[in-house]
């Protein structure tokens, strides 16, 4: 589904990613772990098309297409979803308005007619129930005045409704208490499917107690220094990042 080859990225002429290689197949969950400043967030931002990053080399191929060539909204319509570490508050734009605009953009992109108003409401309300959210959230402005947990849950709600193929979760566990973490994890687990892949970018192992990854990669100094199975995360938790960083050196 996603094939990253020797990707190098600069921010303000400073090289942040120094040759990333990653193969992600449909149905898989990959965890990308690493200490602060290792380039984790840069990787998720570059994949979703955020400005301010210069790709200096390498490639990212998504479902056979050059991902890095696409505008951010095209990537999103093609099924790439970035769950933000800090979801942005958008006063004056209601959740339901954004959800409908997003869903219809995807349908239009795939040559489908706009979603029927009743079907849309039924779909949205089903997902709201699934994530144990209050229906009133739909009519509130996007993320405005939401608690940290509510914002993250809102990201999962969008994910559930837009049904992306590749979900990039940027530090989804940051700022979540244990209850919110459980609800968010259950939401993600309910979305697991053979057609869908997840990239979980995280600093801590605790999220992986709830969402079990197929593969774990350790990112340090802009490179993947170690890859392994789910138990690699536990080992990291025990020994700390210095263990892999030293091994690399």
């Amino acid at each position: 589904m996603l094939s990253i080859k020797n990707l190098t990225v600069n921010v303000n002429d400073k090289q942040i990613l120094k040759g990333i290689n990653l193969e992600i197949k449909a149905g898989e969950i990959h965890a990308i772990m690493g200490p602060n400043g290792s380039g984790k967030s840069t990787l998720s931002h570059v994949l979703s098309g955020k400005g301010g990053y210069t790709v200096t080399g390498g490639s990212a191929t998504y479902q056979g297409k050059d991902l890095l060539e696409m505008a951010p909204e095209i990537r999103a319509r093609e099924g790439v979803f970035l769950a933000f570490q800090y979801p942005v508050e958008i006063p004056g734009v209601s959740n339901i308005y954004l959800l409908k605009a997003a869903l219809n953009s995807i349908r239009k992109h795939h040559g489908q007619p706009e979603v029927d108003a009743m079907d849309f409401l039924t779909l949205v309300k089903d997902k709201v129930r699934l994530l144990e959210m209050d229906e009133k959230f739909l009519y509130r402005a996007v993320n405005e005045g939401f608690s940290g947990g509510e914002k993250k849950r809102n990201e999962i709600l969008q994910m559930a409704i837009l049904e992306p193929r590749l979900c990039i979760m940027d530090e989804t566990d940051s700022g979540l208490d244990i209850d919110a973490l459980k609800i968010v994890s259950e939401g993600v687990n309910s979305l697991r499917s053979p057609e869908r892949a997840f990239v979980m970018v995280t600093h801590y192992q605790r999220l992986l107690d709830y969402i079990k990854p197929d593969k774990v990669h350790v990112l340090a100094h802009g490179q993947i220094v170690k890859s392994g199975g789910a138990d690699l995360a536990l080992e990291l938790e025990e020994k700390g990042y210095s263990w892999v960083e030293e091994a690399e050196a």
Partner: protein, 457 residues
């Protein structure tokens, strides 16, 4: 300039003077004469005056608009009027500065309440008018007020007696139909102690389409009318009374608009103003509020400029006595070569301890050629007060644009959504459903949103 030739308008005055209302009232004749003298000496305000430094009204002098003495409203299309005349209101319609009984709706008013044209009020309740006219709007403030006092042809008069709460709003619909016309109107709104009233001032030119879009900018609809609106509204909010004044200004694309609202609040009185400034080539609003002990005022404004529009908002809040509260939020969106002005002054008198005041002005510039001049001023002479102000002038937040893009929305639509949302915060504050929907329609015409149910906005 101190000669009588400071304005060509003064030279024309004698030809219209006999047609103005209140001929038999010596006090009014004296007031008009005094105003004429003040105006003749100065002419229209000049950019040399500090409070007019961003706004040059020279065009008005050049054009020499003519007052209309014609009293008919027959050239107002009934179907068009429906788009602006709100249902569930009492309405006073002024066409080219004259009351139209035919178009106005005043049935079913509670007996004690007076809602009538200013000309009627001068005939029927001259004593009350004399007591209030010119008591909130100070002639020496600037020459537009003097001009209005000398020239006004008609207006709205509202008197709500003590403890009366009006269940429907009153709409003042100010329409100008002709090119090169001038409509000078004077309004008085009096709410006695504990009374409650909502008044909606709507200013519109007949070449403005039903959704507020400039008809002249649509294909095949002809040329925009150039005219002058010069309206002064004086509001007296009695003790513990509550007055809300809405102003929606959708003047013609070539029109000049001056609208001044001058408010005197008694103890514990509450006043809310919503100023929607969308139209006109050059539009200036004055909102001046005097606050007594523990009274509260809230001033909201939204100004949207396109093409070469110049929209000036001038507010002044005088905290004269202790414990009063003022809240102000003005938002502007300027596109093309439009220019917006916000001058907001809050003056806290020495005696006004425990004043609580917040003033904010937020502006979005959508084009490189658009401009905003913003000048918030706090003048504090008391020592135990809580006052703050904030100003922003900027572009849309790039983080928000990326967030929307990452949710499949293309950049242009994202920008449109965010601009609309920025403006809609002010529309959302409107508590009268029919007016809310009208104003929303005008904002949507500027920033179209696709496939949205209005209930979601």
């Amino acid at each position: 300039m101190t000669t009588a030739t400071a304005s060509r308008y003064a030279a024309e005055y004698q030809t219209i003077a006999p047609a103005l209302p209140g001929q038999t009232l010596p006090w009014l004749q004296a007031l008009r004469a005094e105003a004429l003298m003040a105006f003749s000496a100065q002419g229209f305000p000049s950019p040399r005056e500090e409070e007019w430094r961003y706004t040059n009204v020279l065009g008005i002098e050049k054009k020499l608009f003519a007052p209309s003495i014609d009293l008919t409203g027959s050239d107002v299309d009934a179907d068009w009027l429906k788009a602006y005349q709100l249902e569930d209101t009492w309405s006073v319609v002024l066409v080219n500065g004259h009351f139209s009984a035919e178009l106005s709706v005043l049935e079913g008013l509670p007996e004690a309440v007076s809602v009538m044209s200013m000309a009627d009020a001068l005939a029927k309740q001259p004593g009350t008018v004399e007591k209030y006219l010119g008591r909130a709007a100070d002639q020496s403030e600037h020459s537009f007020i003097a001009f209005n006092t000398a020239w006004f042809t008609d207006g709205l008069f509202v008197h709500v007696p003590a403890k009366v709460v009006l269940d429907k709003p009153i709409q003042l619909l100010h329409i100008v139909t002709g090119s090169n016309a001038m409509a000078t109107t004077r309004n008085i709104i009096i709410a006695d102690a504990l009374a409650e009233v909502k008044v909606i001032e709507t200013f519109v030119g007949t070449d403005i389409a039903k959704d507020g879009v400039y008809a002249a900018s649509l294909s095949g609809t002809g040329v925009a009318n150039a005219y002058l609106t010069a309206a002064v509204t004086e509001v007296f909010v009695g003790a513990c009374a509550d007055v809300t004044l809405y102003k929606m200004q959708s003047e013609s694309e070539k029109a000049y608009h001056f609208g001044g609202s001058y408010i005197k609040q008694a103890r514990d009185a509450r006043f809310t103003h919503h100023n929607f400034a969308f139209g006109g080539l050059l539009a200036r609003s004055d909102i001046h509020v005097d606050l007594d002990h523990a009274s509260e005022c809230e001033l909201n404004g939204l100004y949207l400029g396109v093409k070469r529009q110049h929209i000036d908002n001038h507010t002044r809040i005088n905290h004269l006595k202790p414990y009063a509260v003022s809240r102000e939020l003005y938002k502007g969106v300027m596109d093309d070569r439009a220019r917006g002005v916000f001058q907001g002054r809050v003056i806290v008198a020495e005696d006004a301890q425990k004043t609580d005041s917040q003033m904010n002005n937020r502006n979005l510039l959508l084009s490189d050629d658009a401009e905003v001049d913003t000048k918030p001023q706090l003048e504090i002479y008391a020592d135990d007060v809580k006052c703050g102000h904030g100003v922003t002038v900027g572009q849309l937040d790039e983080k928000s644009i990326f967030y929307l893009q990452s949710r499949c929305v293309d950049e242009e639509t994202a920008r449109n959504m965010l601009t609309f949302a920025f403006a809609n915060e002010m529309v959302d504050k409107i508590k009268i459903r029919s007016l809310h929907d009208r104003v929303l329609e005008q904002v949507l015409a500027r920033f179209p949103q696709q496939g949205v149910d209005k209930e979601w906005l």
